[in-house]
Symmetry: C2
Subunit: 342 residues, 2 copies
């Protein structure tokens, strides 16, 4: 193995000089830098990660904790993870992948061993068991999602309440008076992941303000579950002309069922979705939708966690910071004027 000492000898300088050329932490003459750089290339030197971590007590690794669950829309998780990994690289960091399986213990293990020096948690629950552990460790961390108590925490998420409000306002502006919300699986609400509730709260509030009647129904997703939900909706509110869907697995079934029932979209019924862009554009009717900005969320999470790490090294202490990304509604082919208003 090629070591720093080998490079130093080859370049005719001391070890520390090589180290400083690499870290840029002190000024080096152009000539020396040149010689060292050349030696590094010639010998094919790579600094040993473990040795560096030991000496500097920084591993340059961010741990990313993912949920194991399957009731969430997986591509969003994946897009966040990829965004985290690529953004981390742009900061010269790598990403350690942890699954939720180990639970709070993983936080202790990874941070206690110095394996990672920062952490990003995905799919945070309102009352997440990992948070006390994290707070106690003092590790710079960023949550994707919003827990009940954000004191001392940094969080990133889509502003789901605003997203809900946006959907309600859009349908109202088209003259719809009765709308139905097809939500996530009941388990998602029971787990209190937060985002689903926040969307519904935003919808409800704006709907009330605009004088809309609104019905909210959780839905497991899939064809059969959607069929049952849809039947119930039209049974209870035959006058429903607008749908808001926040459940990727319910999108295709919903459109397919409406078609089969002879309800044209958007002539008879309008549909707005809260979902990733691709789901909206790939649907049988391109959907008017509020995008879940997965990539942006991953990127911001890394930006924030790096800022926190930097602050910590400078001895600053950071205030809580909750960053809610503003939703954007894109109008496509699935929404139009309410039938009565035409």
């Amino acid at each position: 193995m090629v070591t720093l000492a080998d490079v130093a000898r080859h370049a005719g300088v001391s070890a520390s000089t090589v180290s400083y050329v690499l870290s840029g932490k002190r000024s080096i003459s152009a000539a020396t830098r040149e010689r060292v750089t050349r030696s590094i290339a010639e010998l094919g030197y790579h600094p040993h990660a473990g040795a560096r971590a030991l000496a500097s007590s920084r591993s340059d690794i961010i741990a990313l904790m993912m949920p194991l669950r399957t009731d969430m829309y997986v591509p969003v998780m994946m897009e966040i993870a990829v965004a985290v990994a690529t953004t981390a690289r742009s900061y010269g960091h790598d990403v350690l992948l942890l699954t939720g399986e180990e639970g709070p213990e993983a936080v202790r293990r990874v941070v206690g061993s110095g394996l990672a020096d920062a952490m990003i948690l995905m799919d945070v629950e309102l009352d997440d068991a990992r948070l006390p552990q994290l707070a106690a460790s003092g590790t710079p961390a960023v949550l994707i999602g919003l827990p009940a108590d954000t004191t001392g925490l940094t969080c990133v998420d889509l502003d789901f309440a605003a997203a809900g409000a946006l959907c309600a306002a859009h349908l109202a502006s088209l003259g719809h008076r009765e709308i139905a919300v097809v939500g996530e699986a009941a388990a998602v609400y029971e787990r209190h992941t937060g985002f689903a509730e926040r969307t519904v709260a935003g919808l409800r509030e704006r709907a009330a303000a605009l004088g809309l009647r609104m019905l909210h129904r959780p839905c497991e997703g899939g064809y059969d579950a959607m069929a049952a939900t849809l039947a119930r909706v039209f049974d209870e509110r035959p006058g429903t002309t607008g749908f808001v869907v926040q459940n990727e697995k319910a999108v295709d079934p919903l459109l397919s069922l409406l078609r089969r029932q002879g309800r044209a979209v958007p002539e008879d019924v309008s549909v707005v979705a809260v979902c990733p862009e691709q789901v909206a554009t790939d649907a049988s009717v391109p959907l008017t939708s509020v995008a879940v900005p997965a990539h942006e969320m991953g990127r911001r999470a890394v930006d924030l966690v790096m800022a926190r790490s930097g602050a910590r090294e400078r001895g600053e202490d950071l205030a809580d910071r909750v960053e809610l990304l503003p939703p954007e509604l894109t109008v496509r082919a699935s929404t139009g004027p309410a039938p009565a208003a035409r």
Copy 2:
């Protein structure tokens, strides 16, 4: 920070004894082990990962390299990644997440720095640029997917050729004589990822053997692309009664379009899919399918890479090993006797 020396002092033993209690590499009296274990717990000691890696030159980290692409079915990638992470933990290892973005350079960096001591590559292409780099580094590695030349490599994958053959045989046994294959996006074939070609090859061969006429058409997926593909198929082969789909994004559109055209599944047309179980069971008609065993692939990849690492430490050298998982066809509601045969 609590160090090994702290534990040793607290337990009244030497540092090496603590180390050996932890590693189990030499026998320790029950009494001593007990004292040491207690001290570790009391002090809340966690070995420093960097120091350990430096002294032992093993990081206990497996690097997992994922593709960045979006034309693959993402949940499969994700399920493999989660399976890799959880299986790795059962071996006491962690997983470093690399995206394909850095390309071959990532292999050099991660292995050269001793950050990871083994590697798993996903979505390997027939002529993958990372392979020479890997071979040169001598790092224990396992590929998920099959390159053109597997000399000296360990690979895991579904036996897609056998999967194709199984689909052809199933349709033939039901009396179908003309079948159409809806494949992955053209880009997937152009990239020569292998799996798509292998499925088609297996289909073609068995179809020929059983006297089936077969048409193969790549498809981008999504509603519009599927509509165009379907029109062409029935235009060229009006007698087509069986479909094989290997494209998750085409499944729902295909079923939806057939329904709209008044072709009942499975009475008029049978459909077999090569896809994850969930896609098959969630479809509007539960699909007869050959599952892509994502979890199993991730798990086996870790098993094999750990075996390779172990062998390397014992100085053995391993022969090539290509492990093709046997496909299983599950009959559901989307296939039935060919109309003519009823």
